[in-house]
Symmetry: C2
Subunit: 362 residues, 2 copies
């Protein structure tokens, strides 16, 4: 992996990654001239005891791009700079201009609830220079590079005392609110472990203390043994519709043996995880012969410097469609109670995905 | 409150409620002839340790109504029965034909995860006979009746050993997935306390043990003292945008002093709570001069027969719009991490609602 670190004129960082040497690139561009302005802050929800972050940036937003402007394209016209320079890079990571969390956050407004500065980091991860491509259409070596990029970002963020959790994710499709269709994801680095991974850590730690095994490790063993919901089965990695899926077409992608974070993947695991990931993405897009929308989230261990034998790196995909034409809305029971209701069985959705043949080496 | 209990030809229950005596009504109709079929089941999520319910009913669904058919209208043509009879009723409650949870559930399929029968109850609550009305447009005495209906349903469900939690809610608007626009809500009765109220109970119990006070009680006192986010202030009830709102235009409606469930409201509290509720709903609809979509959820104490001095009945409204034209999508950080990010300050959204004058006695 080749890496080049740059700084944008407004102070934000940009890191370029490539499989081959990167060579010459121009200055790091930015559509914005001014340094970052107001900083986000946190407020604690009194009834749920969790943080919410407030970033009232939009009022400050003076930049109104034309509709065809793509900030994730490379800059070809210096009069209309984008976020990225021309050059032989494959993946790029830069600081979000309108972050929900910021390492420089120092505002702590008074409130009737507890408040804190919105410490953290929001990064944009550009998967490719090709705006018409997608994560699943990239060559396997490029997907493997992305897994290395996520490891590099995790390691850099883990080195800081003020970061507790690193979550790479991708929102894909207008159905989940995406307006910028150039293939990209995001990384959120949080100052404390957020509610969902905190809950998963609690469950995993209790299971590990009781059994000496990983809860996902044992679940994967059962899924492999059963076989009914397996979508990809490799030597080191697996993809499946989980038996307790909360979304139609929900899929988990994981190493078979527990690996705490992206940084702990060995080469063989990383290569097979890339194959599992690409297989799922190709099946998704082939299912209805159109780009398949989803939220993809990668869960890993908290970055607190302690060993996490209970943690198990994996992706969870949450697609918004119940069928080709019908969205699954999260409503009363899901959002208000946290109790998910499904009218599709995981076995049936898995069968649909199993029946699709894809050639990931093509 | 006048109450009339009926049974539908397919075995489902129907209860009619009214402010005045109900008098004669016809047979309880049903669009369906056959008794209820397959029963829902639960599977336990191995990583989150929570139940998901599966109800694969749609395959059995043979009834295909024409687009103009309104199952919540009263039956005027015996050849095209709806869910409701002609008669002098104000509010009606009947068993959902396609429930996610059912008192008769007895299927427990084998799985690689823990499974259980999907015990519980899903009720439809029809707010009025007028399909063009809405909860906020009903007279105050009708809104008060609905609060009594929710109390009656809570009491009936609480009497059962197999019900642990009762959640009345309303999904309103196509934006939250509603296809049937006749004013109605739902009640879900769960066999165990669902994740979100369980978390809130945990926080409230710890707070009460430490301070002898209610966490929402103290929060309301601070909101009233601050005043910046108050939307309605009465003698017994209050409505406000909470200082730690997770949604734009989020509002909570509550009694000022803690009341554990709908059953514990006294007459003065119920009357003022109806005023608070109607005020919020009228302001919402007036904000953009169009029906305002939302999820409204009513949290109350678990129905386990024990006293719950830590619990505090209240509604939370989650609107899907950030501004008049822009939806707030729940994406990576909200759904995957459970860490909400807001670009609007609660104070600003509260001011918008405060500036709208409504006359609830008109």
């Amino acid at each position: 992996m080749h890496v080049l670190e740059l700084t944008k004129p407004d102070g934000r960082s940009l890191t370029l990654y490539a499989r081959e040497p990167i060579g010459e690139v121009g200055e790091a561009p930015s559509p914005f001239r001014d340094p970052l302005g107001r900083s986000p802050h946190l407020r604690r929800h009194p009834l749920r005891d969790e943080w919410i972050t407030y970033a009232a940036y939009r009022q400050d937003r003076t930049f109104l791009p034309p509709p065809e402007y793509n900030p994730l394209a490379v800059t070809t016209d210096p009069e209309a700079p984008t976020e990225l320079p021309v050059g032989a890079w494959d993946v790029a990571v830069f600081d979000n201009r309108f972050p929900s969390l910021s390492l420089g956050a120092d505002e702590v407004p008074a409130s009737v609830v507890d408040t804190a500065p919105g410490i953290g980091k929001c990064e944009v991860v550009v998967f490719t220079q090709d705006r018409l491509s997608s994560l699943g259409r990239l060559p396997l070596s490029h997907v493997e590079l992305l897994l290395q990029v996520w490891a590099d970002r995790t390691a850099r963020l883990a080195a800081r005392d003020d970061i507790a959790y690193v979550l790479p994710f991708e929102n894909r499709g207008a159905e989940v609110g995406v307006t910028l269709h150039h293939p990209h994801g995001q990384i959120y680095a949080y100052p404390s472990v957020p509610p969902v991974p905190a809950r998963m850590q609690q469950v995993a730690e209790a299971y590990h203390a009781r059994t000496g095994r990983g809860v996902l490790q044992d679940h994967i063993a059962k899924e492999l043994d059963d076989g009914a919901r397996i979508v990809y089965r490799g030597e080191h990695a697996v993809a499946f519709v989980p038996a307790a899926a909360r979304y139609p077409y929900e899929v988990w992608v994981a190493t078979i043996e527990p690996v705490a974070t992206f940084c702990d993947l060995d080469d063989a695991q990383r290569a097979d995880l890339a194959r599992a990931l690409k297989t799922v993405l190709m099946k998704y897009d082939a299912l209805w012969d159109r780009p398949f929308p989803y939220l993809m989230a990668w869960y890993q261990a908290p970055v607190d410097g302690r060993p996490h034998p209970e943690s198990h790196l994996h992706a969870e995909f949450y697609p918004p469609y119940r069928t080709r034409d019908r969205l699954k809305y999260l409503a009363g029971t899901e959002l208000a109670a946290g109790w998910f209701a499904m009218d599709a069985l995981p076995e049936d959705k898995a069968r649909e995905l199993q029946q699709i043949d894809v050639d990931i080496d093509a």
